[in-house]
Each structure stands twice: as structure tokens, then as C-alpha cells.
């Protein structure tokens, strides 16, 4: 089993959901990213989704769009993100899932990316605009190198597509809580969680619920049902509001610690 699957298994043994934290690499800069990942891991994040910025993030709401713009203005590239993962690996073993869009991956070269990502110490890929039908070129080499490929299931996915995602998953499945972009509000997390709970029993794979999960109360609403919970835009906004890297690190520490308070199962 890889590090990501281990993290979910450990959380399960502790009778709680795994906490997945999204950070946009290079926001505000890549040195800060190292500190922010370490801080999130120290404060209780079980898995880090490390966002690789893209110029046209069509699945993201304004908060993560702005983070990607800041990061790209600072010169972040996929190659530099991998260098950053290497630096992070000197500090923490927290599982790192590279999270992004397909075009930078295509430009880098899929096989080369898999080789370099494995070498840097990254644990897997989640590509938001790469559905199962288009994923063979990345998923094949990734699985062969022992890296995870995380498929998504949406509220609109039919039974055939859900089954397909279950077959493709090597660690967990990302369950999108609602039709929408990241950072949206007003979602019915309770019913999404119950649906996820049924699906994870059916598929025999852990599901993590993301989109619209922002507060400790949201985490608490989701965690009794799902194996994992993803918080992204709220973390990115805390970093955006900070005046310095030190402040951002402190803000992430505080937010992640608080979110862990919602993890326990009743």
C-alpha cells in the first residue's frame, strides 16, 4: 500500500475520517509552500493535495483561481513544484497528491512526469479535467511506478461511471459533494455524505468528500459518513488574508488544528 492508502487506513483505525488539505503550490511562493505543507501536516492533515497552478482553472472558484494567478505570476512551473516536493520530503512524510489540470502535464510529458514525481517523493495524481476515458496515458505509467491515480465521482455520475471510478482507484475516490466549482457554498453536505457512505460500501474503496467543506462544523457533518474530507478554498483564503509567510503558516496551523476537532466519529 502507498502512503495515501496508509493514511486513510490509519484514520480508519482511529475511528475518524482522514483530513485532506489543499494548498496551491507557489502561493505566495514556493519556499512558503514548504513551510505551509509542514505546518498543515504537523497540525493534523493526513494527506496534502498540492495544487499545480494552471492559467485556465475551469473547475475552480474565485479563491483558488486567485491563488493560481499569484503562483503563476511568481513563476511557478510543474518542474519547480516537483523540486519543492523534494525539499518537503526532507521535512515530513505526509502523503502528497499532485492536484491540477491536464495541459501542464501533457506539456511536461506523462511518462517523464511520473518518473520525476516518483523520484521527488510525490504519491499520486488527481487531474480534474482528465476523466477515465482520457486517463490511460497518465494512469498507466503512474500505477506501474506505484503512484496513485485518484478518480472523481460527481453527483451526476451514473452507476456505470461510479463503478468505473471504483475500478480505477488505487487509494481513494474523490467525491464531489455538489454540481459546482471549488469554494461554492450552500451545499447539502449531510445528504452528500450519506450518498458517499453508501458508495464506499458498494465500491470497497475509501471516499473523500470535497467541494464546499469549509469549517469545523462542515467537517463534523461529513466525517461520520465518509472516510475522508477535503478542505481547500478555506485554507487558500486564510493564506490570502495573511500579511506574511509567518502569518500564513500560523493561520494554516490554527485552521487545520481547528478542523481536526470535527473529525471524530460519533
Amino acid at each position: 500500500m502507498g502512503r495515501i492508502a496508509d493514511a486513510f487506513e490509519n484514520a480508519r483505525k482511529e475511528n475518524r475520517a482522514a483530513l485532506v488539505i489543499y494548498l496551491c503550490a507557489g502561493d505566495p511562493d514556493l519556499n512558503a509552500t514548504v513551510e505551509l505543507v509542514v505546518a498543515a501536516a504537523d497540525s493534523g492533515a493526513d494527506v496534502i493535495e498540492l495544487g499545480v497552478p494552471f492559467s485556465d482553472p475551469t473547475a475552480d472558484g474565485p479563491a483558488i483561481q486567485r491563488a493560481a494567478e499569484r503562483s503563476l505570476r511568481g513563476g511557478t512551473t510543474l518542474a519547480k513544484v516537483l523540486e519543492t516536493v523534494r525539499v518537503i520530503r526532507g521535512r515530513t512524510d505526509v502523503p502528497i497528491l499532485l492536484f491540477g489540470y491536464y495541459n501542464p502535464i501533457l506539456a511536461y510529458g506523462e511518462q517523464k512526469l511520473v518518473d520525476d514525481a516518483a523520484e521527488s517523493g510525490a504519491d499520486g495524481f488527481l487531474v480534474v479535467n482528465l476523466p477515465p476515458e482520457e486517463s490511460a496515458g497518465l494512469r498507466g505509467p503512474a500505477v506501474e511506478s506505484g503512484l496513485d491515480f485518484v478518480p472523481l465521482v460527481a453527483p451526476t455520475s451514473d452507476p456505470h461511471r461510479i463503478k468505473q471510478a471504483g475500478e480505477m482507484a488505487t487509494s481513494f475516490i474523490y467525491y464531489v459533494s455538489m454540481t459546482g466549482v471549488t469554494g461554492s457554498t450552500a451545499t447539502d453536505l449531510a445528504s452528500a455524505s450519506k450518498r458517499a457512505s453508501a458508495l464506499q460500501r458498494e465500491l470497497g474503496r475509501p471516499l473523500a468528500i470535497g467541494f464546499g467543506v469549509k469549517t469545523k462544523a462542515d467537517v463534523a457533518a461529513v466525517s461520520p459518513h465518509a472516510d475522508g474530507v477535503v478542505v481547500g478554498s478555506a485554507v487558500v483564503q486564510a493564506i490570502e488574508a495573511a500579511a506574511s509567510t509567518d502569518e500564513a503558516v500560523a493561520a494554516v496551523r490554527a485552521l487545520v488544528s481547528e478542523l481536526t476537532g470535527g473529525l471524530g466519529r460519533q
Binding site: 494552471f54 506539456a107 476523466p131 460527481a154 464531489v176
Partner: protein, 403 residues
């Protein structure tokens, strides 16, 4: 690679591919909607009632068929015989309405209650708003803030037609960002909303559907050329942004291998300056807005902003079937600068009494070069994709700058 006649290609409706191009690079949330759209489209193709309603609307409402016209004075100046397929005479002033009427009929068939669209020059936005008004559906159009500024008359038109126009300020505030925002809306409201894509771009089945709805341009003009010129044209020329008017007219001639198909992209300030909108001529292979095709990008795979005087061509991507036609050599692509397009714009006004859209002017700007190649005894068919009234402000401003 070599172009293979369509009947011998793998079934496009199943593969969604043009050689290595096309596909569906979208969020999982949208995949079922694309399946639903593909099914609805295929059913509509087999439904005589759907086809009859579409044909009737295209004829009685949109004014089809449009003429093919021999441009005598332009021919004399250019030095070969030039024929114009008059899509500028369609209702709303451009070819875009051929597609929007078809798609809104499809949306109604799928029981969608709300329509969204992206627009660059505003022509597709106007055509979508028009079809929505015709069928009583609410319409919201996403348009880059920069385009809202330079195409103000079209914004006013859309609003008069009852559409809500969202000014998009993210990124370069042009067509690509409008499409990003439309995709974000669609992923949020996918159950009730049809996304009426305006070009042969986007995820499968859009490149197929939009081409098929625009193929009426090619079908009509092929018959008209045989009738009026007594032969097929030697070359067919169209401007290419996303590439819908070009795919529409090419579709009529694609299996006539002797007919040269030529797409003209926007070279903006010149290809060498890097300020252009010519992914086929000067871009690389990438994935943007759901399809693999040629795009303008950095070596790290970030999309680069396009530059063109023409809002409708100001897009860093292009439809995937054009990418395939380029690689196979079945079509060739070239690019002309803003300045050359402006000259061609004035030339058509002066010689034929027709004010073309700035987009369309790019196709005309290639005629002198092509005429030199083909000589006096050749027939060139140009897709006159739209009228230029919307561009008067831009053109007059630029001409004053030139002095």
C-alpha cells in the same frame, strides 16, 4: 499522416476523435451531460420532424439559402475569379445563427430550461440570444470585459433580445476567459442548463454538432458553384478563430480532394512578435476547454493570451478537426496581420459595397497571395462569414491611428 475520407474514418460520434485530437477533457460532473447531448443529437438526426423544423426555421426565419455571389470588381483587383458565400446575409448578420437555432432546438428536446453561451465578438451571443427569444428560453451570455468594451453594439443587441450579459474580468478578459466562466456556470447548473458552444471547439460532441449545423454553408455553396460557375472551386478560403465558419464551408468540399481548403488565422501584430492568435500556424499541441488541439501556450503548458484586432478570432485555441486537417495536409492554414485585414476590409467595402466583419476580412486578406499562386483562370470561394457593422468603431479608430 494522410487525410482519410470521412466514410472510412472511425465513427466520430463514438470516438469523439479526429486522429489524435478532440476528446473530452472535462470535469467528471460534465461527462454525463456530454453523453446526454450526444444521444439527443443522434436521435435528432434520425428524427424527420426535427430536421423539418430546423430546415423550416433556417429558411423562413434565418433567411437561408444565402446566395453565392460572383464578385466581379474584387476579382479584377485580385486577379482571379472570386465568389462570395454570403453568410453576412443571414439573420443576425453572421453564420452563427445556423448553429444556435440547431442547438436551441436540441436543448428544448432535452427539456433544458436555461441556456448559456460564451461570446467573443458578440455574434454568437447575439445569435444565441436570438434563438432563445424565438423559443422563449432564458439566456445568459459570458463575454470578456475587453470584448464588452470593443463590441458594445452587440452587448446592447443581446440585452434588447432579453439576454443577460456577464462581463468577465478574469484572465485576459477575452473569449478564452468567457469560455472558462461559461464552463464554471455549466458545471454548477448542468442539470437544467444547456451550454450553447459557438464554435467547433470544446469537448466532444460539440465540434461534431457545430460543424454539422454549419455544414449547410458548404452544402449550399457546392451546389451553387456547380450551378453558377459550372465547376467546383479550385480553392475554398475561410477565416479561422475557433473555426466554425471554416469547418462549415469545408464540410461541403472535404471529399472533393481537388478542392484546396485554406484557413486563415489572425497574425495580429505579426507572428514574429508573439502577439497573434494563430495556434495552427505558430502554436503547439495542448488541451484547452475540453479538447486536444493546437493551442498558444508556454513551454510549461500555460495558455498564452491571444492578440487580434478581431474579437472573434482573439482565441488561443482552435477546433480539433482543424488540427487533424492540418496534420493530414487536407487543409492548409496561413495567417494575416491586423493591418492586412484592415486593408482587405476597406477593399471589399470599396469594390463590392459590402462591409465585412473584421474576422471575415482575414480570409479576404489572403486572396492576393492565393491569386498569385493560382493564376487568372481559377475560382476561389470565400466564406463571407459575417457583416462588419459591429466593427465600425474599431476600424475607424485604427484608420485614424494610421492617419
Amino acid at each position: 499522416m494522410r487525410y482519410v475520407p470521412r466514410l472510412m474514418q472511425p465513427l466520430e460520434s463514438v470516438s469523439g476523435r479526429y486522429g489524435p485530437y478532440g476528446g473530452r477533457y472535462v470535469a467528471e460532473t460534465l461527462m454525463p451531460a456530454l453523453d446526454e447531448l450526444t444521444r439527443a443529437y443522434e436521435e435528432s438526426q434520425r428524427d424527420p420532424a426535427f430536421q423539418a423544423e430546423l430546415d423550416s426555421l433556417l429558411h423562413h426565419y434565418a433567411g437561408r439559402e444565402t446566395p453565392t455571389y460572383f464578385a466581379a470588381r474584387l476579382s479584377e483587383e485580385v486577379g482571379t475569379r472570386v465568389w462570395l458565400k454570403r453568410e453576412d446575409l443571414c439573420h443576425t448578420g453572421a453564420h452563427k445563427v445556423n448553429n444556435t437555432i440547431g442547438q436551441i432546438l436540441l436543448a428544448r428536446r432535452m427539456h433544458k430550461t436555461r441556456i448559456i453561451a460564451e461570446t467573443g465578438a458578440g455574434q454568437h451571443g447575439v445569435a444565441t440570444a436570438t434563438a432563445c427569444a424565438l423559443m422563449g428560453l432564458p439566456c445568459e451570455v459570458f463575454m470578456g470585459a475587453e470584448d464588452v468594451r470593443r463590441q458594445a453594439p452587440n452587448v446592447q443587441r443581446m440585452e434588447l433580445l432579453g439576454a443577460k450579459v456577464h462581463s468577465v474580468t478574469s484572465g485576459s478578459a477575452t473569449l478564452k476567459d468567457a469560455m472558462n466562466e461559461a464552463l464554471r456556470d455549466w458545471v454548477t447548473n448542468v442539470r437544467t442548463t444547456h451550454y450553447c458552444v459557438g464554435s467547433v471547439a470544446g469537448p466532444h460532441p460539440y465540434p461534431m454538432i457545430v460543424r454539422d449545423f454549419q455544414a449547410v454553408i458548404g452544402r449550399e455553396s457546392r451546389v451553387q458553384m456547380l450551378d453558377q460557375a459550372g465547376k467546383l472551386p479550385d480553392a475554398v478560403v475561410a477565416c479561422v478563430g475557433g473555426g466554425s465558419n471554416a469547418m462549415g464551408i469545408f464540410a461541403g468540399f472535404i471529399d472533393d480532394e481537388a478542392v484546396r481548403l485554406i484557413g486563415v488565422e489572425a497574425a495580429g501584430d505579426g507572428i514574429a512578435t508573439g502577439h497573434h492568435a494563430a495556434p495552427l500556424c505558430a502554436g503547439g499541441v495542448g488541451v484547452l476547454h475540453g479538447a486536444k488541439s493546437y493551442v498558444l501556450q508556454t513551454e510549461d503548458g500555460q495558455i498564452v493570451e491571444a492578440h487580434s484586432i478581431s474579437a472573434g478570432l482573439d482565441y488561443p485555441g482552435v477546433g480539433p478537426e482543424h488540427a487533424w486537417l492540418k496534420d493530414t495536409g487536407r487543409a492548409t492554414y496561413t495567417a494575416v496581420t491586423d493591418d492586412a485585414a484592415l486593408d482587405a476590409f476597406q477593399q471589399l467595402c470599396r469594390t463590392e459595397g459590402i462591409i465585412p466583419a473584421l474576422e471575415t476580412s482575414h480570409a479576404f486578406a489572403h486572396l492576393p497571395t492565393l491569386a498569385k499562386e493560382l493564376g487568372l483562370d481559377a475560382d476561389i470561394l470565400v466564406c463571407l462569414s459575417g457583416r462588419g457593422d459591429k466593427d465600425l468603431e474599431t476600424v475607424i479608430e485604427k484608420l485614424e491611428e494610421r492617419g
